[in-house]
Symmetry: C2
Subunit: 288 residues, 2 copies
């Protein structure tokens, strides 16, 4: 029997990142929870895991900057992308109902995103917890009908909780997280899909008028669509920046080859993090 | 007697932000510590304080994104800028020496920036604390010769500690924080200084090839030097972005007037946060 790929994610079992791992690496994997993002990269480097699922950006909270810095530091190839819709449910132990709940645990962001529910139920206390999936685990341990959690439906099932209400969030359909799949070695570029490429570079004349403009021009002149631009402090140069850019295009297409060639005029170095199929928007998977 | 201006900063007395406040608003102020950044903006809005000192970027740790988001939300004018050199000292109570210390408290970043000291003194334990200035206050309260702190020389003096070693950081002269002074009403543009302007905007065709390139071109074509570009999630539009740009130039100069006029072609709105003298690099002030 083929050994399952071991895919690391940050958080405890039932985290949104765990669900992303299945989309990024397929169903036939063993998921490995890690305490920190850096442990994922270390695990890949030392081959203690076969890959990792890392959140890179949330539609409402913004970039997960730590992962930009770790991609620069470790340079593990990006092989896949997915956009996961974040949907919160209210869950509790067997026998619990909205009327029996006295307090509800979740990550402060989860509580904030469901504030309308608490306004409508002033008798229920909000309790901040370090993690959404962790709050479901905690409620399961407490094994009473007075404590509930706001977490994913997947986390609820995993910890044996009943779902009391789905889509508890104030506004539906606005909260998405974009994840990358990373591993030790690059893979071939998918041939039957729209391709996104991610690169990073340092500008040659940082701080000079128009140097970033020149760099972006290499893409704009060829109508290559930039999907994201982000800059992070250069770890070794005060006020220096590492730019991260992603764009639609395969590194084998003539216009991308030309653009990257032109980009070398404006940069001290360019590093290609990966080319992969543009991520689809997916909803959370769980077994009924 | 003229009433002193009350200037808010985030942190406890002795924080680097407190020192920045004196450069941003002058020596004749009363400093007001706040628990959170947002309280500073609220205080300015309700006139319970006359201004605030906010960190916007650190040369090694990067942008302080929360303040970008709060500048967008509250739109308080930026009236001044300073770049403060972050220098850490080792301090302890009267009678303490490097040899009497058993543990040293500081913010995890302060501890990390002084890791060489701990390598050279393996008998001294690193203790993570929520705040650098707070660690000096805590050591002062403990009033023993076994506990030290890593904080600014200003914090050491403020809490009555002796400075055991200055510039404890591994690498000197690489750690700077850029601060803005904000208040309720705009002020006139200084006439005898180089001027920086800060604006924010939303692109009209977010996600279209070359829309950001077009926006930056309005500046590049006129050789206006962009000093910083940052993008943050639009609070009301999933995957939408608010761009923050700062550049060298007075809003009264013809080329800046032209550039901002051209920029309107690529944006749904532009907001001018302020024009102010380019910040000088300063070292920490304290009274001997």
């Amino acid at each position: 029997m083929k050994k399952k790929k071991r895919i690391a994610f940050q958080g405890c079992r039932g985290a949104y990142s765990e669900s992303a791992a299945y989309y990024l690496f397929g169903e036939d994997i063993e998921v490995v929870p890690m305490n920190t993002f850096e442990e994922i990269y270390q695990g890949i480097e030392t081959l203690s895991v076969d890959g990792g699922a890392i959140p890179i950006e949330n539609s409402t909270a913004g970039s997960i900057y730590e992962n930009y810095d770790l991609l620069y530091k470790w340079r593990h190839p990006i092989i896949s992308e997915v956009l996961l819709q974040i949907e919160h449910c209210l869950c509790g132990n067997n026998g619990a109902s909205i009327h029996s709940l006295k307090r509800v645990l979740s990550h402060p962001q989860g509580l904030a995103q469901c504030s309308n529910f608490f306004s409508a139920h002033p008798g229920i206390e909000k309790v901040a917890f370090y993690d959404t999936a962790g709050s479901a685990e905690e409620v399961s341990k407490r094994d009473n009908i007075t404590d509930g959690a706001i977490a994913s439906t997947y986390a609820a099932k995993l910890y044996g909780l009943s779902i009391l209400k789905t889509n508890l969030e104030n506004i539906k359909g606005v909260n998405f997280t974009r994840f990358y799949g990373i591993q030790k070695n690059p893979v071939g570029i998918p041939y039957n899909a729209e391709i996104k490429s991610a690169i990073l570079f340092e500008l040659a004349n940082d701080g000079q008028a128009g140097s970033l403009y020149g760099a972006l021009g290499a893409f704009a002149k060829r109508e290559i669509n930039l999907t994201r631009i982000e800059s992070r402090p250069h770890p070794d140069k005060p006020w220096g920046y590492i730019f991260h850019i992603s764009f639609i295009g395969s590194p084998e297409s003539p216009k991308v080859i030309e653009a990257l060639e032109e980009l070398t005029r404006y940069t001290t170095f360019i590093y290609r993090l990966g080319s992969f199929a543009v991520g689809k928007t997916e909803r959370l998977k769980y077994e009924d």
